[in-house]
């Protein structure tokens, strides 16, 4: 087998050193009954050409990946990934190393993570960010758990109904063992599509642990985060902002500036292909005051014996391998290489480019909305949106089918997630979409083609 270096004489010599007759001697102590039934019934090994043929044909059957004009979003976004990102994340030194336990042999990883942490604080307007979480949904759940550690006496978690269903479900699962906590859903205003601040205000009392609001939310709407955070903090609770389209943070006021205590989200938009949903990268930022309650790894600045600047993992006393059952989280392996991809992506975009790209997304999305409106496909909500918006598509299923026949993935029907949104379609637009696609989309949805 091409990955195994062991020649007959190697095996023989190694067995002799050990003092064993054959390889099976080495596992003779494993109960015979187990060994007897351990055979793996899978096809024999294949060479590269055979694997390419087999997986290549599977890939080719995913026609949705390339053969359609796509308006799919809803937490995963289709942005151009610069070649530099692939070139850097493919570097064996980055890809085949592990958690940087030995800083002297990991300065590439630790310095890059330090840069990631810094850029996340710059984007979120908060003071400290960790080295990455699995994804936006689990990062949101960890944020609620973190809030719980900060304010252990409070019991009520206010989740905006306008959050992504995956995120709400993940929070529910992570909290399922903490039975004393109560999940309350904060409705959204049916006209604006934004979270109903009055409803939030009604539960903003000393029982409130935290509020969790999308920014933008699952409908692409720029939530009134400032007001929501103010209400939350006035009640002495913790304001958590959740962002699934982090490109928005290049243009919108930062969660920190608007008063959020914790900002979490999904970084897939930053240099990661959709990959059918994973791996993306979760991010989390918070105030320095809450540092000790933060989950996940942190890289800090230090120096070597000769005073030369260096970086290393730090504050590990929060973590499972030291604190064990009292750790702030059970996370160990995180999404480091994805965080590196995001770091390269953000470095490429830069201070000016990121804002320009965010602006282009807003402009294109609004041009798309206008194109649809002029074809009679009108927006469902009134509040300002970033690069996704909800339209009334009449019979959504039929509209999607029409569009598919026109090789368009028109978006997502929302009624299965929000029964009250019958006929509603979420349309997501990025810099990858064009006016001609908008026209085709309008034609397909309006049924005029």
């Amino acid at each position: 087998m091409r990955f195994f270096p062991h020649t007959e004489s190697d095996i023989r010599a190694m067995l002799d050193t050990i003092g064993a007759r054959g390889l099976d001697d080495l596992i003779a102590h494993v109960p015979a009954s187990l060994r007897a039934s351990a055979a793996i019934n899978l096809a024999p090994g294949k060479n590269e050409a055979e694997i390419v043929a087999e997986l290549g044909s599977l890939a080719a059957r995913n026609t949705g990946a390339s053969a359609f004009a796509s308006f799919l979003g809803f937490g995963a976004y289709r942005h151009h990934v610069p070649a530099a990102v692939r070139a850097i994340t493919a570097r064996a030194e980055f890809a085949t190393s592990y958690t940087p336990y030995q800083p002297e042999a990991s300065q590439g990883t630790t310095e890059a993570i330090f840069e990631f942490q810094t850029m996340i604080t710059q984007l979120t307007g908060l003071e400290v960010a960790n080295a990455s979480m699995y994804d936006g949904a689990s990062a949101t759940a960890e944020a609620v758990l973190m809030a719980h550690r900060v304010a252990p006496k409070r019991k009520r978690v206010a989740l905006a109904r306008a959050l992504w269903p995956d995120y709400r479900d993940t929070v529910r699962t992570y909290l399922s063992a903490l039975e004393h906590l109560e999940l309350v859903e904060v409705p959204f205003d049916p006209q604006s599509g934004a979270t109903d601040l009055a409803a939030l205000e009604r539960i903003a009392d000393d029982r409130l642990l935290c509020s969790v609001i999308g920014y933008p939310n699952a409908f692409g709407i720029v939530e009134p985060l400032g007001e929501a955070a103010a209400l939350t903090r006035r009640a002495g609770a913790i304001a958590i902002a959740v962002t699934a389209e982090p490109l928005a943070l290049g243009l919108l006021k930062s969660p920190g500036e608007l008063g959020a205590d914790i900002a979490v989200g999904e970084g897939q938009s930053f240099g990661l292909a959709p990959q059918f949903g994973g791996p993306g990268v979760g991010f989390m930022a918070a105030r320095m005051a809450h540092l000790r309650q933060m989950p996940g790894r942190l890289v800090g600045e230090t120096h070597d014996r000769f005073g030369r600047r260096a970086w290393c993992l730090t504050l590990a006393t929060r973590e499972q391998h030291i604190r064990r059952e009292r750790a702030t989280s059970n996370i160990c392996t995180n999404h480091s290489l994805c965080a590196l991809a995001a770091t390269v992506y953000l470095a490429m975009m830069g201070r000016r480019g990121l804002r320009e790209l965010a602006s282009r997304n807003v402009e294109l999305a609004h041009r798309a909305a206008a194109t649809l409106a002029s074809a009679g496909i009108c927006a469902r909500f009134g509040a300002p949106f970033f690069n996704e918006f909800v339209v009334n598509a009449g019979d959504a299923a039929a509209a999607l089918a029409r569009a598919e026949r026109a090789t368009i993935l028109a978006g997502l029907a929302l009624d299965s997630y929000w029964p009250e949104l019958g006929g509603a379609l979420l349309v997501s637009v990025t810099e990858m979409n064009t006016q001609s696609e908008f026209d085709r989309l309008a034609g397909a949805l309006a049924g005029v083609n």
């Binding site: 990955f3 190694m14 390889l23 085949t96 330090f114 999404h335 470095a347 282009r360």
Partner: protein, 519 residues
């Protein structure tokens, strides 16, 4: 004759190590450091530089700030990087060279299975049909991806001897959480909530941490002097409030739990479950199936046993496999087949729900498929045997200076100790740092906690005997140095561009981000 040549080479390498110049005890900071260190992105920035050329605004479009209203928009991202594309490339290329990696160095990090990661796997994951596939794509337009997932679930079930598999969890620890929550749901469903989980003192830190997260109280079981769990100990602890035993097999001492079957019986008699942490599955391929040991739940780390790259700390994937009676509780979504066509099934009332967005770390699943296809049933079986061979070879050769922490035979890794702390005031960390001078990444150290100054060595099946010999020679050399010149070892590394890093300092006064005013 070629055989001889290889021997010669092995000998040669050994000799090279012998002949290595002893670096000075406290060398001058070499100029190399100034040359090799890389300033931060922020320090390399200049106003107006950018590595991006954004498509110009189409005539007639209103500016985004005008569309949204200036009140919603920020003016700037102070301090954000401003570099040209060539600067960005050079920055990260230079950074990469400051890393050790399995592909370039021997990396026997115990419990992490740093085996060779085939480059083909990454190419397969980057096929447009996989990488550009949006998670919300209608099932009939993502048929290949769904079939791949179904195939992998089947393959992992076959490999582990379990009945059902979920590819949902993002990593091993999340697989643990999924398993523990399923356990919780299972007991409730049967009308009897249980609040305790037994964990051996050798357990990996994620095990107790996951228990807490799942609302269980941890009861610690002591492994015996020989380093394994006795059924008697479990019998002693397995009260009616015990939901399960969570055990790693082979355990973190690298030895197979001999009483595992009896232990499973004890648990099952008591209505408790056996959770098997499958992070060490690299020892069991074609050797023993967790399902046959009586395990009810086992999570796998695809980034260990199944070669997906560790990426400097992830992403990985932590599929969870269960027996029939736990299948209803598996996380959402599940795969469902109607005729030929696969789709996602969300209608599973007993499911614990989801622990992350979408359908799992699909990109990693593609890589694991590519790996399993490459090895096949026969190759997987060989893999564990070669991994076990390597671990025992290293253990035997090092025995004289670094005795094993246990007398039991080792599986895929060995845990060694030493007397250098007493004899020369040289500790395990010093040994680890000195290994860097030999171009070798250190083993896992100070784990498992039950072994004082542990060196946990996992060579894996993809390293040559010559490489193992080089490692053994380096370890022996270091042992000798520790006695003849302890300061040399205590102050290692000496031949890297950077010397030993002051980790305590980082924690004392945390600097966790770059800030303009710092400049």
């Amino acid at each position: 004759m070629v055989g001889e040549r290889k021997m010669a080479t092995a000998g040669k390498i050994a000799r090279e190590v012998e002949q290595m110049q002893t670096p000075p005890v406290a060398p001058e900071a070499p100029a190399a450091a100034d040359v090799r260190s890389v300033p931060l992105l922020f320090e390399e920035s200049a106003a107006g530089r950018s590595g991006a050329d954004i498509i110009a605004r189409t005539a007639g479009d209103r500016d985004a700030a005008a569309i949204l209203g200036a009140a919603l928009c920020r003016d700037d991202i102070p301090g954000f990087p401003e570099l040209s594309e060539p600067q960005v490339m050079r920055h990260f290329l230079r950074l990469s060279q400051l890393n050790f990696g399995q592909a370039l160095q021997f990396y026997p990090l115990g419990s992490c299975t740093m085996k060779y990661n085939p480059v083909l796997n990454d190419e397969m994951a980057s096929l447009t049909g996989f990488s550009a596939l949006h998670p919300m794509t209608p099932a009939h337009l993502a048929a290949g991806a769904l079939e791949l997932m179904a195939w992998l679930e089947g393959a992992l079930a076959e490999i582990t001897g379990m009945d059902a598999v979920s590819l949902h969890p993002a990593a091993g620890a999340q697989g643990e959480l999924a398993g523990l929550l399923m356990m919780r749901a299972y007991h409730r469903k049967r009308g009897a909530a249980r609040h305790k989980v037994i964990i051996p003192d050798t357990a990996h830190g994620t095990n107790p941490a996951s228990c807490t997260l799942a609302g269980f109280e941890v009861v610690v079981a002591r492994s015996n002097r020989r380093g394994f769990l006795e059924a008697a100990e479990i019998r002693r602890l397995a009260s009616d409030d015990v939901a399960a035993l969570m055990v790693t097999n082979p355990n973190t001492l690298g030895i197979f739990e001999p009483e595992i079957a009896a232990i499973a019986d004890v648990l099952h008699e008591r209505g408790a479950l056996l959770y098997l942490d499958g992070a060490n599955m690299n020892a069991l391929l074609g050797v023993a199936k967790p399902g046959h040991m009586g395990a009810d739940i086992v999570q796998l780390n695809l980034h260990k046993t199944f070669s997906t790259p560790h990426g400097g700390g992830g992403p990985g994937a932590g599929p969870v496999a269960v027996k029939k009676h736990l299948a209803p509780f598996l996380p959402l979504p599940r795969l469902r087949q109607d005729g030929e066509a696969w789709s996602f099934d969300y209608d599973r009332p007993d499911s614990i729900g989801r622990l992350r967005g979408f359908h799992g770390n699909f990109g990693m699943l593609v890589r694991a498929c590519s790996f399993i296809l490459a090895l096949g049933g026969n190759g997987l079986t060989e893999a564990s045997r070669f991994a076990i061979l390597a671990a025992n070879y290293v253990r035997t050769r090092l025995e004289p200076h670094f005795p094993s922490a246990t007398a039991e035979p080792s599986m895929h890794e060995c845990v060694l100790t030493h007397d250098l702390e007493k004899r020369a005031d040289v500790n395990t960390l010093d040994i680890a740092k000195r290994l860097l001078d030999f171009g070798i990444h250190p083993p896992t150290i100070y784990f498992p906690l039950v072994v004082h100054g542990a060196l946990m060595i996992e060579p894996t099946e993809t390293e040559t005997r010559e490489t193992l010999d080089t490692f053994v020679n380096a370890m022996e050399r270091i042992y000798a140095e520790a006695l003849s010149n302890p300061e040399l070892v205590r102050t290692a590394p000496h031949t890297l561009w950077l010397s030993r890093v002051d980790e305590a300092h980082a924690a004392r006064r945390p600097v966790l981000r770059w800030q303009p005013d710092k400049e």
